[in-house]
């Protein structure tokens, strides 16, 4: 599977509701050993949000210094992004991913920068 198969895919909850699109895939470096590289990056979960634009600009990461209006704008855009742990993924289709948690139950995305 390719990462691009996941990105932009629609995420549907058990009620068939569209939670959003996959904006990003969170990885944690504790998978199988890959020789020189050490533990592989395994998928921890999916970052799901509505409205794809500007999600790669970095404003959702925290720590961006501004300019103030842009910071506020993009945080407003992406503020309600949801995080789906991989264990909740029940199926992967063509441009769609099914999860077993209802839309309202999904937690917000943990900040990456300390």
């Amino acid at each position: 599977m390719r990462l691009s198969d996941l990105l932009r895919a629609d995420v549907l909850d058990p009620n068939g509701e569209n939670v959003g699109q996959i904006h990003d895939v969170r990885l944690v470096k504790d998978g199988l050993d890959q020789g020189l590289f050490g533990p592989a990056y395994r998928v921890q979960g999916l970052v799901v949000g509505v409205g794809a634009w500007g999600s790669r600009l970095g404003y959702d990461r925290g720590g961006m210094k501004g300019p103030y209006p842009l910071k506020k704008l993009f945080q407003w855009f992406h503020g309600d992004a949801k995080f789906v742990e991989w264990s909740h993924v029940t199926g992967i289709g063509d441009n769609v991913v099914h999860v077993d948690m209802a839309k309202e139950e999904l937690p917000a995305v943990p900040m990456l920068r300390q």
Binding site: R56, L57, G58, Y59, G63, M64, K65, P67, Y68, L70
Partner: protein
């Protein structure tokens, strides 16, 4: 002492390198039609390019990432590609204008038709890129382009300086021109001052020359002092046209008219110096824009790029540069009016500015890249105002182009 020399050379190079065929045509044409009423746009444009180039240079120095690398990363490959195609096309028009511009200067000097000079100019441009070291190339043409300063001398000697400064405070079009045309030419002037290729080149140059954070100060001096002085050069061109051409109703549709004020005041010697300066400045710009074509494409796709490696090690990069020069020369040879191509290239450049300016502004604020050298609150405020300005310009360009029939 050595540092002072280095800074001085850098500033002088920046002044000479600031002016290209776009600035010459835009400032002369505007001066001839609008006198000094659009001089304020040059000031706005210079502040803009200083902001823009400083950010891009700082990003490239600290993170080693030049502009198109950053653009693809922050906008994603799709929007990044749209950006690349638009920038490449406009840059291509600019290369055509610069090559034709050099040929026109040679025509003025030799009375041999500019079309016959084009193949030779294209070959020279390519050969310098192929063989001359980056730092030498940049310094030589930038420094010798300073000969254009004779235009400042001409305005001074004409005794018109005070009158021109007074004219510059009249911020409305003269009776012979309309407000839409006024703003259309304002956009052209802005595009000429803030040309994106300057930034692609500047930021890639930072990587080519291996700038480190300790070079930041020198680089800032070049930008903060050099570019505004280059702006003064532009204003001198505008002023010359305003006092000599405007009262006589002479409009600028040929490069020879740009030189008229200088030859009028300083005679043959002044003209020769001015032509020499024009040749060097425009030739330097041709080098920069041709290289920028390669930088933009190479940095988007992740190819090995640059003159800091042997040509065989950056084959695709050199292929793009070569093809760009060949196709630009071909376009110029179709007898398309070089002045018109220049006008279109600067107006479209102005319209496309937000595409490349926005990601730069964002990354300049990212501590993961910049460490503690992110934008200050003041520069962020100013930079954000410029973002709004550039978006407004972008939106207004096509309608104004249609309404004024491209400034006719």
């Amino acid at each position: 002492m050595k540092k002072l020399l280095e800074i001085t050379l850098g500033i002088l190079t920046a002044i000479g390198g600031f002016v290209d065929i776009g600035d010459l045509v835009a400032n002369a044409e505007t001066g001839a039609r609008f006198r000094m009423s659009l001089a304020w746009v040059v000031v706005v444009g210079v502040i803009g390019i200083v902001l823009y180039a400083e950010m891009a240079g700082r990003i490239a120095t600290i993170s080693k990432r030049p502009v198109f690398d950053v653009i693809r990363e922050r906008l994603g490959p799709r929007l990044g590609l749209v950006n690349l195609v638009a920038s490449f096309f406009i840059n291509f028009l600019t290369v055509t204008a610069e090559i034709a511009g050099v040929a026109l200067v040679l025509e003025l000097a030799s009375n041999v038709n500019y079309l016959l000079w084009i193949p030779l100019v294209a070959l020279m441009v390519w050969m310098v890129i192929w063989r001359v070291r980056f730092s030498a190339m940049e310094k030589i043409y930038g420094f010798l382009g300073l000969a254009l300063a004779v235009a400042v001398v001409a305005v001074w000697k004409s005794g018109q300086t005070h009158a021109l400064l007074v004219q510059a405070t009249h911020l409305h079009p003269p009776a012979t021109e309309s407000w839409p045309r006024y703003f259309y030419f304002a956009i052209a002037l802005l595009g000429a001052a803030m040309t994106p290729y300057e930034v692609f080149f500047f930021s890639s140059g930072a990587v080519e020359e291996g700038w480190t954070p300790s070079d930041l100060m020198v680089n800032r001096m070049n930008v903060y002092i050099g570019f505004p002085l280059g702006g003064i050069l532009s204003l001198a061109i505008m002023g010359g046209a305003a006092w000599l051409l405007a009262p006589r109703g002479i409009s600028v549709d040929h490069l020879s008219q740009v030189a008229l004020p200088v030859s009028h005041v300083l005679g043959k010697i002044g003209l020769v110096v001015f032509l020499f300066g024009m040749f060097m400045a425009i030739f330097g710009a041709a080098l920069e824009t041709a290289l920028s074509a390669g930088y933009a494409v190479g940095q988007y796709f992740g190819w090995q790029w640059g003159k800091f490696v042997r040509p065989v090690e950056a084959s695709r990069f050199h292929l793009v540069v070569l093809l760009t020069i060949i196709l630009a020369a071909a376009l110029a040879l179709t007898t398309v009016d070089p002045i018109k191509v220049t006008e279109y290239s600067i107006v479209l450049a102005a319209a496309a500015l937000p595409l490349t300016y926005f990601p730069i502004l964002v990354v300049a604020n990212d501590p993961d890249y910049m460490g503690d050298k992110t934008n200050s609150k003041f520069s962020n405020a100013l930079a954000f105002i410029y973002l709004l300005l550039l978006i407004a310009v972008s939106v207004a360009t096509i309608p104004l182009m249609i309404v004024t029939k491209a400034g006719a």
